[in-house]
């Protein structure tokens, strides 16, 4: 059974039908990419998975349980963590406080200590900046903080919504290298990206979302040579 199974998901904002009946799955241990242009419905899908936005139709199952319509705090307790688009760090909290927020649902204070240690190991820059307010970090540092914050509780599924957005190419490379590292830690990763080449390079499978519908799906290797994908997302 897949770790995450999304079936016939529909999501609307009033009259806007942002997601129109998509189905996809992730097996445990996989890295799966969701590609799509701006406005395709990627973030809406992610926000629906973690319960920030409500589905109007369809089903989301995680770890064998139906989580459709559950409030976020219950979904997150089950082991899904999101690093949202645009980082969304807490600007007037320090780096350490932001990390602690990532472990908000953890009951055991050891989880917090261990999580912070792991975050500092993965991102030495965050250790240097630990007392700095998150709002004063650079874009790349904020992105690392957002990812580190999502990793605090060792989630079963990590969702990364456009982690490379707006970052310098050299930092983008670091971020993608990190995704491979996170996957090697045994965490299943759902990666949302517009940077198709890099994303498919680190993932096992991929889906292409266009105006709320999945139009192409397959193994990443195949998608990289797929003419439609090449034309639309890899610059021909």
């Amino acid at each position: 059974m897949p770790l995450l199974q999304v079936t016939d998901l529909h999501v609307s904002y009033g009259a806007i039908k942002a997601v129109q009946g998509i189905s996809f799955y992730l097996n445990e241990g996989e890295v799966v990419t969701l590609l799509g242009a701006n406005g395709a419905g990627k973030s809406t899908t992610m926000n629906t998975i973690i319960g920030i936005v409500k589905a109007s139709q369809g089903k989301i199952e995680f770890d064998g349980q139906d989580i459709t319509g559950m409030p976020s705090h219950q979904i997150i307790k089950r082991g899904i963590a999101l690093s949202p688009e645009g980082r969304q760090v807490f600007p007037r909290m320090s780096v350490t406080e932001n990390l602690k927020m990532g472990a908000y649902t953890a009951k055991d204070s050891k989880v917090v200590v261990k999580g912070i240690q792991q975050a500092f190991d993965l991102f030495p820059i965050l250790k240097e900046r630990q007392n700095q307010l998150a709002g004063t970090l650079s874009g790349g540092e904020q992105q690392m903080l957002a990812v580190a914050r999502a990793l605090m509780t060792d989630p079963k599924l990590l969702i990364l919504d456009e982690p490379s957005l707006g970052l310098a190419p050299i930092i983008v490379k670091d971020i993608f290298a990190l995704i491979t590292k996170i996957s090697q830690m045994g965490i299943t990763v759902l990666l949302v990206e517009q940077n198709a080449r890099m994303a498919l390079g680190v993932s096992d499978r991929g889906y292409v979302l266009e105006t709320g519908k999945i139009v192409i799906e397959g193994r990443s290797d195949d998608l990289l040579v797929n003419p439609e994908v090449r034309n639309a997302y890899l610059g021909g």
Partner: protein
């Protein structure tokens, strides 16, 4: 004379600070000006009056009951009215109107039950007054200052040192991200309302004991003082609210004592207007960091 003014200003300032902190905490998590806060402030002394005078409870149990009941009323208002408005994704202004409605119901309810005349509140708290040269710090003043300091220290510890406080601050800074971290935003907001309303209740109970009476007109004056305090200190800032409340209390007392008592309540209005023009962020308020 001067020292006496300091004592009196400090006492009143402490009560303003307390109401302002509670108001500010609620403002922080919702960006909502809770107009019912002033009603909670007068609700408590009426409960005190009822329990102490009519049912001859002891003063301490009566105060505790007044605080808890008022806190619960605030929490219920959020849970049954404001949470529903949030769920329907209505703008914050709808919630503001709702709090105005609740305050009207409470104040009119109090008038209906107790009448609009002034009700006596016990002012002997069993603490000896302290004489320093010619100035006197009464027992009630001692109680108010000590209680307010303790409560504000505890509130600061809650806001800055506990998980509940982290949750409140996370909601204030980025509500969506707070939900993404697994914060049960609605229950934290309801708890914040409990705390904010209880603060108003404590201040209301203590002020009425200080003056020895309560009447519903107090609602308007405390509401104005609360707005003035939070605007002076910086909207949404907890230390700012404390500072703002203290300053308003001091200013009011000194101007009344040395200049004229005719403009006691007008002073707060003038401070609000001048500040909104000169320094809209208040003394300790930050400029809002725009969310990306």
């Amino acid at each position: 004379m001067f020292l006496q003014q300091v004592f009196n200003g400090l006492t009143i300032g402490m009560t303003y600070a307390l109401v302002a902190v509670g108001f500010s905490m609620v403002y922080g998590v919702l960006e909502l000006a809770n107009f019912a806060n002033g009603a909670f402030y007068i609700l408590a002394p009426y409960i005190l009056f009822l329990m102490f005078s009519s049912m001859s409870w002891g003063l301490l149990p009566a105060i505790i009951l007044a605080i808890i009941v008022t806190g619960v009323v605030g929490a219920l208002m959020d849970h049954f009215i404001l949470a529903t408005i949030r769920k329907n994704k209505a703008p914050v202004s709808s919630s503001m109107v709702a709090t105005l409605g609740v305050s009207t119901v409470i104040t009119n309810g109090l008038i209906a039950i107790f009448g609009s005349d002034t009700k006596p509140i016990p002012s002997n708290v069993g603490i000896d007054s302290i004489h320093i040269s010619t100035a006197i710090l009464t027992g009630t003043q001692v109680l108010i200052i000590i209680a307010a300091v303790i409560i504000m220290v505890v509130l600061s510890l809650i806001v800055y040192k506990t998980k509940l406080g982290s949750a409140m601050r996370s909601i204030a800074q980025n509500g969506t991200a707070a939900r993404m971290m697994g914060v049960n935003v609605n229950s934290i907001i309801t708890i914040t309302f409990f705390i904010g309303s209880a603060c108003a209740a404590i201040a209301g109970a203590m002020t009425s004991m200080y003056y020895g009476s309560v009447d519903t007109m107090l609602y308007f004056s405390v509401s104005v003082k609360t707005f003035a305090s939070v605007i002076l200190g910086g909207i949404g800032s907890v230390p700012g609210a404390m500072l703002g409340g203290m300053l308003i209390g001091m200013l009011e007392t000194f101007i009344t004592g040395y200049v004229t008592s005719a403009y006691r309540d007008t002073i707060s209005f003038m401070i609000i207007i001048v500040l909104l023009i000169v320094r809209p962020t208040g003394l300790l308020g930050q400029k809002k960091i725009t969310k990306v």
